[in-house]
């Protein structure tokens, strides 16, 4: 099985991306993936946010799929609002959602 492509996009105006990156790497290690293979990219202009369909920082994509459906959120240089599984608002995704997204990508790849 090849490793899924894992991307973390961030905007430096929001302080949450280091925590998100730590939790993403922990989830990858837990699932036997190489945590150093995360592609970390900065989004620093509104034009780039539009082009990347970046709805806020941090945004984590696994094989191109967002770990939490952004719905119809507009592209913007902003902090992203996530909802944890217990209903709390958070600036980072629920680690359980990240693990599930990684597992789904691994399963999809194993069937290809």
């Amino acid at each position: 099985m090849t490793q899924p492509q894992v991307e973390l996009l961030f905007w430096d105006g929001c302080p949450s991306h280091p925590q998100a990156l730590d939790e993403l790497r922990a989830a990858m290690s837990e699932l036997g993936l190489d945590p150093d293979q995360v592609l970390v990219r900065e989004v620093d202009t509104e034009r780039l946010a539009d082009r990347e369909r970046f709805v806020g920082s941090p945004t984590i994509r696994i094989d191109g799929a967002d770990v939490q459906d952004p719905g119809d959120e507009p592209a913007a240089l902003t902090c992203r609002v996530y909802h944890r599984r217990d209903g709390r608002v958070s600036p980072v995704p629920d680690p359980a959602d990240v693990r599930d997204a990684l597992r789904n990508a691994m399963t999809t790849r194993s069937h290809q």
Binding site: C14, C79, V81, V89, P91
Partner: protein, 175 residues
Amino acid sequence: MSTDIGTEAPTFTLSDTDGTEHGVGGSEYARATLVVFTCNHCPYALAWHDRIAAVAEDYPDVKVLAVSSNDAERYPRDSYDAMRERVAADGGWPMPYLYDESQEVARAYDAKTTPDCFLIDAEGRIVYRGAPDADYQDPSLKAVWLRGAIDAVLAGTVPEPAETKPVGCSIKWKQ
């Protein structure tokens, strides 16, 4: 203007979501006044909101003012209309939600983030500045730094800590 601990708090008057004016200054101060820079769109401000609202409910003698200062053109979720809609959707707030459209109040306080909290004593001096508590993720902390600072002011003593690092989204200044 300096907003260091012990300095005089900048005075201001702003309108809340009902159009009623509130502010800091005037002929006399409350025993304690808490000014919280906050907004609609920031996950840190949202995560801490219930804890700050609980402080307003638990300390009826403290004047609590929530202030939104973000550039609403770039961040439409922080517009005056959006503020009014949020308060209405919540069935009202225990503190007024003020619109700092010119951003002059945020600049006067040198507010950095949402949230960023300033506690003012009865003499109009800033006695605490910073975050509500140590962890936006942990509701059980119940804004303990704010409560401790308020308790100290009401008891006539000095808050400890008097200053903590504000944590949250940067204030979105007009460009």
